[in-house]
């Protein structure tokens, strides 16, 4: 009887989704790409880099929060996701300590110093990737597949050479650990969409804008082969489905999400076609992350009853 009269403040109806649940779903969705990457780069011992990078991210969060006497939040898996995403963005041959340093940078500098989960102003994993890319350019752009060193298919494409689109789809190519297999990434993305964790708005507008940009400025016109190669090459798919959709660093308004996707597509196209290096997804996403507060400001919806005729 007493329970019926339990007085509490709103909200009274709660969804089952918690931060921990959502992050766990993201981890599950990343597993196909992770396992494919580990299998794909088995001769480079990619699993070790994945374990070290992910472990360091979780450990850094734990140690920092213990030292600062804050509630320890490693159970919500957000550090796990950050570490795993960073690992998937690293070339398999990277020395282990560099992966660990990237994890420390992601968690400590980008996430915790700005206030922890929900306060980071850009995607921690991508910020760490760019930190490593600037610091260790040579090691970060050294790609090996099956013992053979060479450029990624995307770099080949930029150089005007022919690429094998089919193997780019399956993933048995050079690249970072998690970005090579479009199929594995799409499997994870489908899972996230079905579970309602992400929707199509950001990745959809991102990819469509990018395709339009490539068609207009790519110099190949509407060439399906060229466009498919651009879509399957590099980190575009991983970035569009898993990193651009990060809740913390993407807009919450519907119009804002579309605008954000357009920004991402334009910047990625710009960096890939006119930039110095072949890849530009990481920079496009972290620059767009910085634009998010502005995007939310211009797309703020009107509350019901406001505005109209006076």
């Amino acid at each position: 009887m007493n329970e019926k009269w339990n007085v509490s403040s709103s909200p009274h109806i709660r969804d089952k989704a918690t931060t921990g649940n959502i992050m766990l779903l993201v981890v599950i969705a990343l597993l196909p790409a992770t396992f494919f990457g580990i299998y794909n780069f088995r001769s480079e011992n990619a699993w070790l880099l994945v374990v070290v990078t992910t472990g360091t991210a979780v450990l850094t969060e734990y140690i920092y929060e213990k030292l600062m006497h804050k509630p320890v939040t490693i159970k919500d898996c957000s550090a796990l996701v950050t570490g795993l995403l960073l690992a998937l963005n690293l070339p398999p041959t990277l020395p282990l300590w560099m992966g660990a340093l990237g994890s420390v940078f992601a968690i400590l500098v980008v996430k915790q110093l700005f206030g922890g989960l929900g306060q980071n102003f850009m995607n921690p994993a991508l910020a760490a990737r760019c930190f490593l890319l600037i610091s260790f350019t040579g090691k970060m752009t050294y790609f090996v597949y099956d013992g053979v060193t060479g450029p990624t298919p995307l770099a080949d494409l930029k150089a005007g050479e022919a690429v094998d689109t089919m193997s780019m789809l399956i993933g048995n190519i050079r690249g970072t650990i998690g970005e090579t297999s479009v199929l594995a990434i799409m499997a994870g993305a489908m899972f996230l969409i079905l579970m309602g964790v992400i929707d199509l708005r950001i990745p959809g507008t991102y990819i469509v804008t990018f395709v339009i940009f490539i068609t207009i400025f790519g110099g190949h016109g509407f060439d399906p082969q060229y466009i498919t190669a651009h879509l399957c090459g590099g980190g575009l798919m991983l970035g569009a489905w898993f990193m651009a959709t990060d809740y913390v660093t993407s807009p919450i308004t519907k119009g804002g999400q579309i605008l954000y996707g357009v920004c991402l597509g334009l910047l990625t196209g710009l960096f890939r076609l006119f930039g110095g290096s072949a890849e530009g997804v990481s920079y496009a996403i972290i620059i767009s992350n910085l634009l998010v507060p502005l995007i939310e400001k211009v797309t703020l919806p009107k509350p019901f009853g406001k505005g109209g005729e006076k």
Binding site: P95, M98, S135, F136, T137
Partner: protein, 228 residues
């Protein structure tokens, strides 16, 4: 402590231009890619600062209040030009690596700030010591930042290999973002040291090293935690 050593202490520690006043951030961030650059920039600023403080203090009763800014700038710019030519003639390599930041000493806010807040109100000798203190404080700050950035970014200090050859330099530290990281970390470090001294409850010591501003004229002295 007499008023001259007080001025030196003030510039080096209490009101350190880099870590406390946060003045002159443009050269602080831009030229500290190596320790030698930090020293060079700091010392050339010191020379200009001492000379301009001296001359402005001498002229403080002649310069009309309404045109004091242009007058200060003319004085500072003359000394900067002299220093620039001297450096170009005698230390051409340092001159080349500091580049545009030497003429930019003219608009360094430490120099104008000291002219405005100290030299234009005080006699010549204390003004010169104020310039020496502030200049050495600036040099100290820049050199610290330069040492850390050079060590992490290239494994060397003063161009001498310190870390083993196998050390992979973290290049970002000699690029622009590294300047922000190192400056922030060093400022945080000295704030921690100051906080420890404050927590011991020594009010006199707290006043000396507190926030680096003049508490008598501070609008927040009622609510300020430093003096409690």
């Amino acid at each position: 402590m007499n008023k001259y050593t007080e001025r030196l202490y003030n510039g080096l520690v209490k009101e350190n231009p880099t870590f406390v006043l946060m003045l002159g951030m443009c050269p602080t961030l831009a030229v500290t890619t190596s320790a030698i650059n930090g020293i060079g920039m700091g010392l050339s600023t010191t020379v200009v600062l001492v000379l301009s403080n001296m001359l402005i203090s001498m002229l403080r009763k002649i310069i009309p209040d309404s045109v004091r800014m242009p007058a200060f700038i003319v004085v500072v710019a003359s000394f900067v030009t002299i220093v620039q030519f001297l450096m170009e003639g005698f230390v051409p390599s340092l001159y080349a690596s500091l580049g545009i930041y030497i003429p930019l000493i003219v608009v360094n806010c430490i120099i104008l700030g000291r002219a405005e807040s100290y030299a234009s109100k005080n006699p010549v000798l204390p003004s010169m010591f104020d310039g020496i203190g502030m200049g050495l404080g600036f040099t100290f700050g820049l050199t610290c930042i330069g040492i850390v950035r050079e060590l992490l970014g290239s494994g060397k200090v003063f161009d001498i290999q310190v870390l083993p050859e196998s050390y992979e330099p973290i290049t970002i530290f000699i690029l622009a973002p590294g300047a922000f990281f190192v400056l922030a970390c060093l400022t945080a470090l000295q704030n921690v040291m100051k906080k420890k001294a404050l927590e011991k409850g020594d009010v006199k010591k707290a006043e000396k090293i507190g926030c680096g501003t003049n508490c008598a004229e501070c609008g927040k002295k009622e609510t300020c935690g430093n003096l409690k």
